[in-house]
């Protein structure tokens, strides 16, 4: 069987801003295929979260970010900071797609001693921070945004967070600092999938968008699994007006695979060996 993500080695250009919504949709689908393969190799994982941010990653990597497929350390690159390190499966899938992670390395995901662990570690090309401990992303993104501004680089920092992660106080320390330092080269994207380790979000998180607005962020709230809405939101947040930007994404855990979407305990998914084939069939038939 042809392996998704390898048969269509990308013709990525810099910048890649001319992708259509349909092309981005295809990229998101390919990421989901790759993730499902990675998870089925292991039999378990944070698949639901990976599926729910596939659309975001497609838009970020194939429309928003300027990067060099041949040089992950390019000093002028835009940076994507994945704060929820346990979403590693999704980040690895997209880094594989753009050529930073080899097929061999991807196959070793989560195995003993593998470079690609269940959490993200920043010694891997394209992984900007070590992200397993929540609440570490936004503060480092603020530092990167300050560093870029100091060097007069026009590049941007896009930092992903999750709704459960907003319970960490360090997120709000960073949110306050970003607005105070007028970092309009920083975009926070908050994956609100409504789940965390103990089940549905254990604290009343709402109104999330208003919290970011109150902290001084130019904030949009959209369906995070709607590629066109993602494109429109990023387009609406390009102003150099001294305000950091935030997009609150309403997402569905397990998006694209109905069995996973309806699963009650979706934070860490274990699937029986014989179920993977049917999940794969569901993904294919829900391509949309």
């Amino acid at each position: 069987m042809a392996q998704p993500g390898t048969t269509r080695r990308p013709e990525i250009t810099i910048p890649a801003h001319d992708r259509t919504v349909e092309q981005l949709h295809d990229e998101a689908f390919a990421l989901r295929q790759t993730m499902l393969r990675m998870a089925s190799d292991k039999g378990e994982g944070y698949i639901a979260q990976g599926m729910d941010i596939a659309d975001l990653l497609a838009v970020v990597y194939f429309r928003e970010l300027n990067f060099d497929p041949n040089d992950p350390e390019w000093a002028d690159r835009d940076r994507f900071v994945l704060s929820t390190g346990h979403y590693s499966i999704a980040l690895y899938a997209v880094l594989h797609r753009i050529g930073y992670i080899s097929e061999e390395k991807l196959d070793e995901f989560g195995l003993n001693g593998a470079d690609l662990a269940l959490s993200t570690f920043d010694d891997q090309p394209g992984v900007e921070i070590t992200g397993g401990s929540l609440g570490h992303g936004l503060g480092q993104a603020v530092g990167m945004a300050l560093g870029y501004r100091l060097d007069r680089r026009a590049s941007r920092i896009i930092c992903e967070l999750s709704d459960g992660e907003l319970q960490e106080g360090s997120v709000w320390e960073a949110a306050m600092a970003a607005a105070s330092h007028r970092l309009d080269n920083l975009i926070a994207v908050i994956d609100c999938n409504g789940i965390q380790a103990d089940g549905p979000t254990v604290l009343d998180m709402e109104p999330i968008a208003d919290k970011w607005r109150a902290f001084g962020w130019d904030t949009r709230e959209i369906d995070g699994n709607d590629v066109a809405a993602l494109v429109a939101a990023f387009d609406a947040l390009r102003a150099s007006d001294g305000r950091p930007k935030a997009i609150v994404l309403r997402t569905t855990p397990g998006k694209g695979i109905p069995t996973l979407e309806s699963r009650e305990r979706a934070h860490f998914v274990r699937v029986k060996a014989d179920e993977w084939t049917s999940l794969r069939a569901e993904l294919e038939s829900n391509r949309g």
Binding site: A75, D122, E128, I129, T130, G132, S133, G135, H136, L138, G139, Q140, A141, V142, G143, M144, A145, L146, G147, Y148, L150, D151, G169, S170, E173, A174, M176, A177, S180, H181
Partner: protein, 326 residues
């Protein structure tokens, strides 16, 4: 004995009981000198600019200085982020806030990422009048267990200035037990040279050997001189780099003396004395040892002199240990 009622619980992390000379704010002066030709150096504080002496840097390079507010987790995260864009990030706050409040961020975002973050931490040890909330008597014990983190405990204004400059060229994260305000000058800058990872035998003598770190080396010098007047040869090995630990120098020094006195402004367990004990035991070397340090307990508020005398860090205590062996 310092009288509790007549003594004023002042002295915000300053050592004021030595004759001097003193230098004011050597951290700020050194950082300004260093950064003149090093545009990659940035400075940060968590609302502790005034009380860490980094304001001189802020005044010299306002564009490179960031006050992140009372947010120590964010201080280290922002510093790590800046480091990831090629900066060398000097941060100041108090030791207690680094080792207690922001430890996860120090361990993962800084040390694990080998981020070029240099933490100049104030009031390490028993060094202020505020009581246990502000007294980092456990910082070395906490931090020595963290891989890829260097720990430096300078003695005086001369060494602190040298350390501030040296850490810029030490790859990765470094924690410095800084000194603020009026800082005594113990070492002659023409003669003394800090070397990262190296302990220095600054006084020789084979009857008794003092192994000391931080400002306790000044007290060790005074004790050594007093011992010499009694015809006793008291060597002093100054250990400014706690991690990586200079095991070789410690073993060489210990093998050449009849007995040891270990002096540190830190709890007696988990710091210098523990490191020395481990080194000696591993090498099969047994040398009688007196530990001068802080007891394993929370401490009350009080002036520096009051606290030192009450808890056995003062000059008299060290001199007794060196001369009388008790």
């Amino acid at each position: 004995m310092v009288d509790l009622k007549s003594g004023r619980a002042g002295g915000m992390g300053e050592i004021l009981d030595v004759e001097g000379p003193y230098e004011v704010a050597p951290l700020g002066t050194a950082l300004v000198e260093l950064s003149a030709n090093r545009p990659e150096i940035v400075g940060l504080t968590a609302d502790m600019g005034r009380f860490s002496d980094i304001h001189a840097f802020r005044d010299a390079h306002p564009d490179r200085f960031f006050n992140v507010g009372m947010a120590e987790a964010d201080l280290l995260l922002i510093a790590a982020g800046l480091a990831k864009t090629g900066k060398i990030a000097y941060c100041t706050t108090y030791s207690v806030f680094v080792t207690r409040r922001a430890l996860d961020f120090l361990v993962i975002a800084c040390a694990h990422s080998k981020a070029n973050v240099k933490i100049l931490a104030g009031m390490s040890g028993l060094m202020n009048p505020y009581g246990a909330t502000h007294q980092a008597t456990d910082d070395i014990a906490v931090l020595r267990m963290i891989p890829d983190l260097a720990i430096i405990d300078p003695c005086d204004a001369t060494e602190l200035a040298q350390v501030v400059k040296a850490v810029a060229d030490i790859e990765g994260t470094v924690y410095v037990r800084s000194l603020r305000g009026k800082v005594p000058v113990v070492f002659d800058p023409e003669e003394y040279s800090f070397e990262f990872g190296k302990a220095k035998e600054l006084r020789s003598g084979s009857d008794v050997g003092v192994i000391s770190t931080g400002f306790m080396t000044q007290r060790a010098f005074v004790a050594s001189a007093a011992a010499r007047e009694r015809g006793l040869g008291a060597g002093v090995l100054h250990v400014p780099t706690i991690k990586p630990f200079d095991t070789e120098a410690v073993l060489r020094f210990a093998a050449g003396v009849d007995r040891l006195v270990i002096a540190e402004n830190h709890q007696m367990s988990g710091g210098l004395a523990t490191l020395v004990t481990e080194a000696l035991y591993d090498a099969g070397l047994h040398v009688p040892m007196i530990k001068i340090g802080i007891q394993h307990r929370f401490h009350e508020c009080g002036s520096q002199a009051y606290m030192e005398e009450k808890y056995g860090l003062d000059q008299g205590r060290i001199t007794r240990a060196v001369i009388d062996g008790v």
